[in-house]
């Protein structure tokens, strides 16, 4: 979503953009004095105006709103409960703005598309959140970007033996486990293991990308449903969506889930998506 907003802000004349859901800001690229809290008030005001307009035939339902002021423009595009808000200078050309907005709306719609499970956009964001879940889960905590592997850091001897098929695929035992994995502790999550997993350090992921830990989680869960080369299949799905394991936009994550689910038998898809969301 951050990438979507960044692209939109590259359109000449656009001053800022934000995505709201139920009048709460989900993401934004705004600069003072246009803070999200100010736009929440603006949206509140516009919703009251919308009630007035609904008395005119055909103007009910979700709407797109263009407001031209003396010194700026405000555009609000409603997509269900989500809305895209764009602030632009008065000099922004409507034609260019319209193209940028249409692209952004399409991307946002795609992000909101159901993936076959009741997972909403907000729950996807929770799933990709870097906040670690309780220690009892199988979650692999993300590695801080500044973390370097101390020379003394070795794989624990308690690690289960790695299947030969995975060894040949270059997967380290810390990266993927086929059968009930021991709960990993941070020290066992070495930088080397991340590098072995995808050929580069897990620390390169930025704020717009799905975290390496999330990708690992995805591979592990996918492996529970398809034991044959789950990492290869996840890689394949990521590549198909134009990403790489070290840079996969968060905005494409729902599409990735859908793509992976489509690789599984229909009866397993729902369970897979539910497991991923856990």
């Amino acid at each position: 979503m951050d990438e979507l907003l960044a692209r939109l802000c590259e359109v000449p004349g656009v001053l800022g953009a934000a995505v709201f859901q139920n009048l709460k800001c989900l993401a934004h690229r705004l600069t003072p004095p246009h803070e999200p809290v100010l736009l929440e008030e603006v949206l509140n005001q516009l919703s009251r105006m919308g009630d007035a307009l609904e008395s005119l035939e055909g103007l009910g339902g979700n709407r797109t709103l263009f407001l031209r002021f003396q010194d700026g423009q405000l555009i609000v595009c409603h997509l269900g409960e989500t809305c895209l808000v764009v602030l632009a200078s008065v000099k922004a050309q409507a034609a260019v703005l319209s193209v940028g907005l249409n692209v952004a709306q399409l991307k946002l719609e795609r992000m909101m598309m159901p993936t076959g499970s009741p997972m909403s956009m907000s729950s996807v964001m929770v799933a990709t959140s870097p906040v670690p879940p309780p220690a009892s889960s199988n979650y692999v905590p993300p590695m801080p970007s500044s973390m370097q592997m101390p020379s003394s850091m070795q794989m624990p001897s308690s690690m289960p033996p790695m299947p030969s098929s995975m060894q040949s695929a270059g997967i380290s035992s810390a990266g993927l486990r086929s059968e009930p994995p021991p709960i990993p502790s941070l020290p066992s999550q070495s930088a080397e293991s991340s590098m072995n997993m995808f050929g580069s350090s897990g620390s390169v992921l930025g704020g717009d990308s799905v975290g390496m830990s999330t990708i690992r989680h995805l591979i592990r869960v996918f492996g529970e449903f398809d034991e044959q080369d789950p990492q290869g299949k996840v890689r394949q799905a990521i590549a198909k969506l134009g990403g790489s394991p070290t840079h996969f936009p968060k905005s494409h994550y729902p599409a990735l889930l859908q793509e992976l689910a489509s690789m599984l038998p229909a009866r397993l898809r729902k369970d897979f998506q539910a497991r991923v969301a856990e």
Binding site: P33, H34, L38, E41, V42, Q45, L46, R48, M49, G50, A52, L53, E54, S55, L56, E57, G58, L59, G60, G61, N62, R63, T64, L65, F66, L67, R68, F69, Q70, D71, G72, Q73, L74, I75, L87, A94, A95, L97, S98, L101, N102, Q105
Partner: protein, 106 residues
């Protein structure tokens, strides 16, 4: 000389209703078979909400606006003493038509 309403209906395909009214809702003229007085009244009501927004955003007063609903779209352009509201089919990107209306009106 003020722009003819029928000329405003030609700025984009599908536009079929137009009304010019004063800011208190008094209809000056209209084009197309519809209840222009109600449209003008609702537009004036909506304007009340919009007048505060420009100050909130630091953008000044509203000069034109458009909103597209499930099947219709309304475009409103402000003049010195009156405004014009033009209606047509729903439009996902009403900005271009609004720009044309704003430049054509007065």
């Amino acid at each position: 000389m003020a722009t003819e309403l029928k000329d405003l209906l030609r700025i984009a395909p599908g536009l079929d209703r137009a009304v010019e009214a004063e800011y208190d809702g008094l209809v000056i003229r209209m084009q197309g078979g519809f209840d222009g007085e109600s449209a003008a009244a609702v537009t004036v009501l909506a304007e009340n909400y919009l007048s505060e927004l420009g100050d909130m955003l630091g953008f000044g007063s509203v000069s034109a606006w458009a909103t597209s609903g499930e099947s219709s779209c309304i475009y409103v352009a402000h003049g010195a003493r009156s405004f014009v509201a033009v209606m047509g089919p729903a439009n996902r990107s009403p900005g271009r038509v609004l720009e044309r209306l704003a430049s054509s009106w007065n």
